[in-house]
Symmetry: C2
Subunit: 303 residues, 2 copies
Amino acid sequence: MTAEVISAELLAVVVAMVGDEPCVLTLGDPPPRLPAGPLLPGHRSLQAATRRWVEEQTGRRLGYLEQLYTFADLDRDGSPARTISISYLGLTTPNADTGFGAWRGWYSLLPWEDTRTDTSVLTDRVTPQVRAWADQQPSLASERRQRCAITFGLDGNPWQPDLVLQRYELLYEAGLVPESPSAWRRPDDEVVPGDRMVGDHRRVLATGLARLRAKIQYRPVVFELMSPEFTLGQLQDCVEALAGRAVHTQNFRRLIEQQALVEDTGQVDAETGGRPARLYRFRREVLQVRQAAGTKLPTIRSR
Amino acid sequence: MTAEVISAELLAVVVAMVGDEPCVLTLGDPPPRLPAGPLLPGHRSLQAATRRWVEEQTGRRLGYLEQLYTFADLDRDGSPARTISISYLGLTTPNADTGFGAWRGWYSLLPWEDTRTDTSVLTDRVTPQVRAWADQQPSLASERRQRCAITFGLDGNPWQPDLVLQRYELLYEAGLVPESPSAWRRPDDEVVPGDRMVGDHRRVLATGLARLRAKIQYRPVVFELMSPEFTLGQLQDCVEALAGRAVHTQNFRRLIEQQALVEDTGQVDAETGGRPARLYRFRREVLQVRQAAGTKLPTIRSR
DNA sequence: ACCACTTATGCTCCGATGTAGCATAAGTGG
DNA sequence: CCACTTATGCTACATCGGAGCATAAGTGGT
């Protein structure tokens, strides 16, 4: 009974805003994959190893980086040798975009998660399939219906943006994503829309998205995705893109201001298409003080 | 450049309430250690492996179990071969206590974290040492002072219960815990009180405690530590023990009731030493609905 | 029986916070 | 000059959270 021989791999979900779209850094295709690499003897720490691999494979330096989750189920891929995957979430800006790899929109990979303006993907392509799955097995129907209603916000339940992972897992279980074994060779129209990724990378992406959506509610991490100076409108767009939903503008501004998260630069951006907006800068000092207190976001406007 | 050969180990922080004391399951001594074991080929998943090892080593079945963090820094111990440690947080009740291992009070291991009634450890033994460390290097003093003030709630900053890990790490850096290399052979009175553990297990414990304190604020996990029926007073004691601080009783009750987390059993417990208390039962149904909404706790009574 | 003390429970006051909407400012392109 | 866009200021109102007062119903002691 000796310990299993194992190799460990680092997996990075690197997020940046490209225009109005939240994107993830991917390599190769099709299907695309996340930057990843094995843990080597020279690596000092897991975090350092992740930084190195991302830099080597994509030519990009990461700023913010936090550990996400460690996966090691036996059936992750077909192979008998087990790989432990330690995943990280990184945040950057797409500036100086000289690297390799492609910024791919989150919502091309998980389209049902974008409920900012158009919920037709959700209501037309996902919800019906999910409901059908629930009713498929009469003995489980009531339990499944409850679960669907909560994770997808059906039957009067609220849509909860940060249940990303629960939604993906339900779709996987239901065989509604092509990665699922039970979706083997299902035709495209019996499957939910959204580009697939290598292995379980789409699940890892969902884990990252879930974490990020949860985190922006209590830590000022949004600013890691902004350029040094920005208007409150841009900041709001960013938050809305991440959360996948619209926010009450006036309340958003008040909240940001009263928390003293930003300071006025005295400059204005006239390129807004409307009244020029003031430019602000993130007050990095608050990172010290706000270890716990965090950014609060106004809860979401009902439409 | 092949992948490093590695073994992976599961580490469990298993928590239960023994009387009024929150405890962690430990083995051996001195110094005590957390239940742990290598990942073996037969293990289906990391979580299953953790369950097995805990059961085998302590004779206890776990209920709630969630992944905490994965450690793999090169300098974790002296050895050149790297071990990846994947830590889990488990919650149980100490019922049917037939197993091996000892329930050891959190606060014998991290005494400064208990600010429920007596803060003398903190104010007499920890704060002065921490302050001294900050002032030790004039060039870093201002930065360090800020950090100390925030993590330990000095100079008007609020005490934040869930900064457990930050506090431990500061003490470690400052050489104020005997585990720290820079505390090598320091006499006991130049070190902060609290029993040490094997390796970095005390850091892992701090990670678990931090997670738990954060989590009880937004998920109804406290109930995993309660027996099936309990009074609101017992529930409050449990929360206070976990958070390490006192809570306003009336507000606590209001909060629990208005969230409909519990239901009245119709019975009473006359053993309270005062007016008999109603017995309640956790409404397991809410686990479904409350995936995100969570238990809110009233913030803390000022004394 | 009465008293001091303990825990349980009900209720109110008030300030902070969050939600929603109205109104105005200052640009753009026709 | 007008219609439209985005930015920004302000207010009314509901809800929530924090703190305290008051009462209920047990205990043990004299």
